[in-house]
Amino acid sequence: MSVGERMAEITEKIAGHVGDLRRTRSWRVTAALTALGVGLLGVAVIWLFVAGVGIWGVNSPVGWGVAIASFVWWIGIGHAGTLISAILFLCRQPWRNSINRFAEAMTLFAIVCAALYPLLHLGRPQFFYWLLPYPATFGYWPQFRSPLIWDFFAVGTYGTVSLVFWYLGLIPDLATMRDRAAGWRARTWAVFALGWRGSARQWAYHRRSYLLLAGLATPLVVSVHTVVSFDFAVGQVPGWHNTVFPVYFVAGALYSGLAMVLTLVIPARAWFRLHDFIGELHLERLAKLMLAAGMFTAYGYFAELFFDWYSGESSHLAQVHSYLVGPFAPMFWTVIALNVGVLQLLWIPRARREPLALLTISVLVNVGMWLERYMIVITSLERDDFLPSSWGDYTATFWDWATLLGSFGLFVFLMLLFVRYVPMISMAEMRELELEPDAGADAPKEAPT
C-alpha cells in the first residue's frame, strides 16, 4: 500500500464515524437517556435560582458540600486531557495521537461541568459576573487576595486555552469533513474550517502555534489544580492547612483524569470498533501512567497524615485519629482501598491489557477519587473549628445529588455529541504517523499488508 492509500484509509475509517447512520439507534437511545440527566440538571438549577442555595445541605459549619467536592473532582478529570494532548506531545510520544482528540474533548466537557458548581454555589448565581474585574458603579473590585478569585482566573484561563487548543488541532480535520461533504453541510464545515487549504506554509505555522500552545498548556495545567488546592491549603482548617496540597492535588487530578480517559475510551473503542487506532499498547501505556499518578497520590495521603501527626498540634492529631480509627475511618479506608489498593492490580501486565479489567479498575478509581474529594471538603469542615462546640454534621439533600447526577448526564451528553459530529481521532496526526516509519511501527495502527 502506498502512503496515499494508507492515508485514504485513515480518512475513511475516522471520518466515516461522523454522522454514521449504522450506529444511529444506539446513539439515540444513549443520547435520550443522558438528555434526561441534562433535564434533571436544568430542573435542579432552576429550583436553585428560585429557592436559593438552601436547597442544598450546606449550612454552618459545612458551607461547602457535594457541590464543591464535585467541582474539585470534575476539574481534576480535565487534567489528564491536557497531559495527553500537551505534555505527551512535547515529549514526542506519537501513540498519544490516537487518543488526544478524545481526551481533550473530555477535558473541555469536564471543565464545563466543573465551572457550573462554584457559580451555582455563589448564593446569588445571577451575579456571577461580579467576579470579573470590570469598572462597576459600586466602585469596588474583586478581592485579589482571595483564593476564590484566583480560582476564577485559573479555571477561566484553563477553559479558554483548552478550547482554543482543541479547535486548533481540529481545523485540518474540519477541512477534510468540508471536502467530503456537499451542499449546506459542506458550507457549515467550511465556516468552521476557516478556509484551511493545507498549504505547506499553513502547516508550518500551525505546527509552531500548536507547539507553543502545548508549551503554554503544560504550566497552566499544573497551576490549575494547584490553585484549586489553595482554596483549601490557604485556610486554617485542620485537614486543609497543609503544604503538600498543591502536589497532592495535581497528582490526584492526573490520576482521576487518566481513570476517566480509560473509562471513556474502552467503551468507545468497542462501540466504534476503533481497535486499529486504539490498541492494547495505548491501554497499557495509559494504565502505566495511571499507576504512576496513583502512586504519587498515595504518597500524598501518606504525607498529609504524616505531617498532621508530626506537627503534634492537638486539632491535627484529632484529625489523623478520626481518619484512621475514628468516625471517618470507614470513609477513609474505603478511599484507600479504592485509590491505593485496587490500583496495585496494575502491576500485573495482564490487568493492564485486559480491557474489561482495566475498565473496572478505572471506574473504581473514579468513585474512590470522588469520595476522596468528599472527604477532604466535608469531613474537614464538619470538624472545622478548633472548639468542639462549633462542630456540626452535613447531609447531602436530594438536590445535591440531582445536581451531581445531572452533571454526569451533561458530560456524557456532550461526549455523545462530540463522537457524532466531530472526527474523534485526529486524522491529520494519524496521517503524519504514516510518514515516520519508526513511529508507525510503534503505534499498532495498520494491519500488516
Partner: protein, 179 residues
C-alpha cells in the same frame, strides 16, 4: 514571492516524498511562485519553499504573555493597593505574592490567544475561498493527495517547459485550473 493566487499548473502526487523532491527541483530551477499542499504536516516541506515562513508566532506569543502578566499585576496592585485598599485581617494592601497567581494565569491566557491570532494572520486564516479550491481534484488535498502549484506570474513559467519539468517528477496527473 509566495503562494500563487492564480495557479497555472498543479501537479498531483500520492506520496509526500515525491512532493518534497518536486518542490526542491522547481526551487533549484529558479521558480519562486510555488506552493505545496498536503493532508498533513510534512517535515521540511515549508523550508524547501523559496521563502520559508519566518518564525514570528513565538514572538507575538511572548509579547502577549508579557503584556498580560504586567498589566494584570499592575492592575491588581493599583486596585488593591490604591483604589480600594481594604484591610483584611491586617494583610498588606500590596500583597504581591497573591497577585502573582492571576498575573500568571493572564500570561498564559494572552500568550495563547496571541499565538492563535498570529497564526490566523500569518497562515492566511480565515479565508473561506481561495482560487486553488476551483480545482475539483483539490478536494483530496485534505485526504490522501499532495499538490504542487506553480503560479502563472512566475517569470520562469512557460506552459510547455514547466509542464515538461513537472512530468519528469513522477506526478499522478498535471492539472491546468485555468483551461
Amino acid at each position: 514571492m509566495s503562494e500563487p493566487l492564480g495557479a497555472a499548473l498543479v501537479a498531483e502526487f500520492d506520496d509526500p516524498q515525491a512532493l518534497l523532491a518536486a518542490t526542491r527541483r522547481l526551487v533549484d530551477a529558479g521558480y519562486v511562485e510555488l506552493e505545496a499542499y498536503g493532508p498533513t504536516h510534512v517535515e521540511g516541506l515549508a523550508d524547501a519553499l523559496p521563502d520559508p515562513p519566518p518564525r514570528r508566532i513565538a514572538r507575538w506569543s511572548f509579547v502577549g504573555g508579557l503584556l498580560g502578566g504586567l498589566s494584570m499585576f499592575g492592575f491588581q496592585a493599583w486596585a488593591m493597593g490604591v483604589d480600594w485598599s481594604l484591610n483584611v485581617g491586617g494583610r498588606a494592601p500590596f500583597s504581591w505574592p497573591a497577585f502573582m497567581i492571576p498575573a500568571f494565569e493572564c500570561v498564559i491566557l494572552l500568550a495563547a490567544l496571541a499565538a492563535v491570532l498570529a497564526l490566523m494572520r500569518h497562515a492566511d486564516l480565515p479565508r473561506p475561498h481561495h482560487p486553488v479550491f476551483e480545482l475539483a481534484a483539490f478536494e483530496r488535498a485534505s485526504d490522501d493527495r499532495f499538490f504542487l502549484a506553480v503560479g502563472v506570474d512566475d517569470t520562469r513559467f512557460h506552459p510547455a517547459r514547466t509542464r515538461a519539468l513537472l512530468e519528469q517528477l513522477g506526478p499522478l496527473e498535471i492539472h491546468e485550473p485555468r483551461s
